[in-house]
């Protein structure tokens, strides 16, 4: 019965994401059709004749009515067709898929970094209010949201690459002296391990650390703030007092009783954190010349390759919806109270 309740909630949550996806598709459709001027003239290029413009208008379906155009757009999306990038000549979906592993590898490592710093910091701050840890936490939280990611990134490059010489040059995923590992997952670090090549693994990880820490620093702040707040609230509740009074060990009270309950609001914050992360990813990729989808979008923006930019926006929005959905399902699975009512 309990399992059924959870399953039903998960299905309900899946249903709730449908309006978001419809909204996203409508917005990206409007954005692709709201190009300044006539899109057909733009796509036809500078040497266009009235006939060629008309031909392009027909081939793009621009001579049809808006609802018809929208249906065509949705039909293309359903087959995974995001249009063709003018700057590279390849389908946008293909371009994005090829670069996605680079961005995901960076984002995941950044997430691991920010969680592994923010959670202990928040817990420590909540268990010792007004101590130096708490003050440190407050400082990091305020500084973290105020620091522009591109600025943090550049100064890490200056300190660790130029001054100290620890870090490799901030250009891409792998130093040019190495060959990229044979592709399995597209994550260079994992592929290198599968290949058994520790040297390439080390090199790929070295390239990855600075951008990941930069990206992680920005998202650390909301996570640490939420952890601190949630832990403070849980720690002041009756069941914690009872657990303490029963003489349970401090670590049992803290981790088994308090932290598991504080985890729920923290999971909710992760949704907002992903929004920050996917946005800042673009900036971090530019700073470190990281060949991910963010760099692709910036290159496309510079040469006015609008199809590619809107494909990127759509892909990121769908990724974000999927991430939020995953978080909500995790929430349902983690929360022992969910599903008990029915």
């Amino acid at each position: 019965m309990n399992g059924n309740g959870k399953l039903r909630m998960i299905i309900g949550r899946l249903g709730q994401s449908i309006p978001s996806v419809i909204g996203i598709i409508i917005v990206t459709f409007v954005l692709t059709r709201a190009l300044p001027g006539d899109p057909a003239v733009y796509f036809a290029g500078p040497a266009a004749t009235p006939e060629s413009i008309q031909q392009i208008r027909e081939s793009l379906g621009l001579d049809k009515s808006w609802p018809e155009q929208f249906l065509l757009y949705v039909r293309d999306l359903a087959t995974g067709d995001l249009g063709v990038s003018i700057s590279t000549g390849f389908p946008v979906a293909e371009e994005l898929l090829r670069r996605l592993p680079a961005s995901l590898e960076l984002t995941l490592l950044a997430l691991i970094f920010s969680i592994s710093v923010a959670l202990p910091l928040g817990i420590a701050a909540a268990t010792r209010p007004n101590s130096w840890v708490d003050q440190l936490c407050r400082l990091i939280v305020t500084a973290g949201v105020s620091l522009p990611v591109f600025f943090t990134g550049l100064f890490m490059v200056y300190i660790f690459y130029y001054l100290l010489g620890f870090a490799p040059s901030p250009l891409g995923r792998l130093d040019i002296i190495y060959l990229s590992p044979p592709q399995v997952t597209g994550f260079y670090t994992i592929d290198a391990l599968i290949d058994g090549d520790l040297e390439v693994f080390g090199a790929a990880l070295a390239q990855l650390i600075m951008p990941a820490v930069t990206l992680g620093t920005f998202t650390l702040a909301p996570l640490a703030r939420m952890t601190r707040g949630a832990m403070l609230q849980v720690l002041s509740s009756d069941f914690i007092r009872t657990a303490r009074a029963s003489g349970l060990r401090r670590s049992t009270v803290l981790y088994t009783y308090a932290f598991r309950n504080a985890l729920l609001p923290i999971l909710t914050t992760l949704g907002m954190v992903f929004s920050f992360m996917l946005g800042s990813n673009v900036l971090v990729e530019k700073v470190f010349a990281w060949p991910g989808i963010g760099s692709f979008a910036i290159e496309a923006l510079i040469v006015s390759d609008y199809v590619a930019v809107q494909g990127f926006v759509l892909a990121m929005a769908l990724l974000y919806v999927a991430l939020n959905l995953t978080i909500d399902i995790l929430y349902t699975l983690v929360d022992p109270r969910v599903g008990l009512d029915d």
Binding site: P19, S20, G23, I24, I26, V27, T28, V30, L31, T32, A34, L35, P36, T142, A143, V145, S146, L147, P148, V149, F150, F151, L154, F155, V157, Y158, Y161, Y162, S169, P170, G229, F274, S275, F276, M277, L278, G279, S280, V282, L283, K286, V287, A297, I298, L301, I302, Y306, V309, Q310, F312, V313, M316, A317, Y320, V321
Partner: protein
Amino acid sequence: MNEFFKHLKYVLTENPVTLIAGGLFMTLVVIAVFGPVLVPYDPLASNAALTLKPPSWEHWFGTDQLGRDVFSRVLIATRLDLAIAVSAVAISFIVGSVLGSLAGFFGGWTDRIVGRLTDTIMAFPLFVLAMGIVAAMGNTVENIVYATAIINLPFYARVARTEVNVRRNADFVLAARLAGNSSLRLLATQIYPNMLPPMMVQISLNMGWAILNAAGLSFIGLGVRPPTAEWGIMVAEGAGYIVSGEWWLALFPGAALMLAVFCFNLLGDGLRDLIDPRRRT
């Protein structure tokens, strides 16, 4: 009113950080208003003999690749950066608070439509949506403002909706209704002014984020064009010189940006203490 000033004095003296943030804010405003009078050099004048000089007595923040004075450029940029953020926040405040109040006051279909609209905006990673909007509407400074305004809209609409909703049936509103006021008049004269204090906190917290966003957009080459002095684009121009050790090109505009954002965030926290002492952290 006297009570208010007592409380203001209490908040400022209790937390010196708020006082510092207030001072910083005033400095920023002065620089933004009087910037052109304060700068020691013409921010656009290049000087081939003085390229990439480190900070010195003559040029406090050094000179850039064209020999322009970085200090003057950072100072001049304050006006543009604040102007972009202020206009974006003003637009999202006005549109967001009106939409949110209507949704909170009338409920039903109005509420559903406004809710759907804000949810759709929030379904995007916000910075990415801003990129898409600027790409679609054209690469100009005005469009940076509109894009920043659109992505901030949901926050105002949500706060306004909640604030109006809790006051919709308050006694003073019912009394005013009984006195024969129309619904819209009630909303405009009785409820709307009462939700301004919580909205002020939202504005201050939002300003920092708006500045960061606008600077981020110009960092990736949208909106502001060189040679205009703007913090984001100055960091972008200086980025290439970091690897060869010319740190001052990017550090100073970046630090100015950080300081401005920091100032608004602290001010927002201080304002929240002032307006709602219960929510202090």
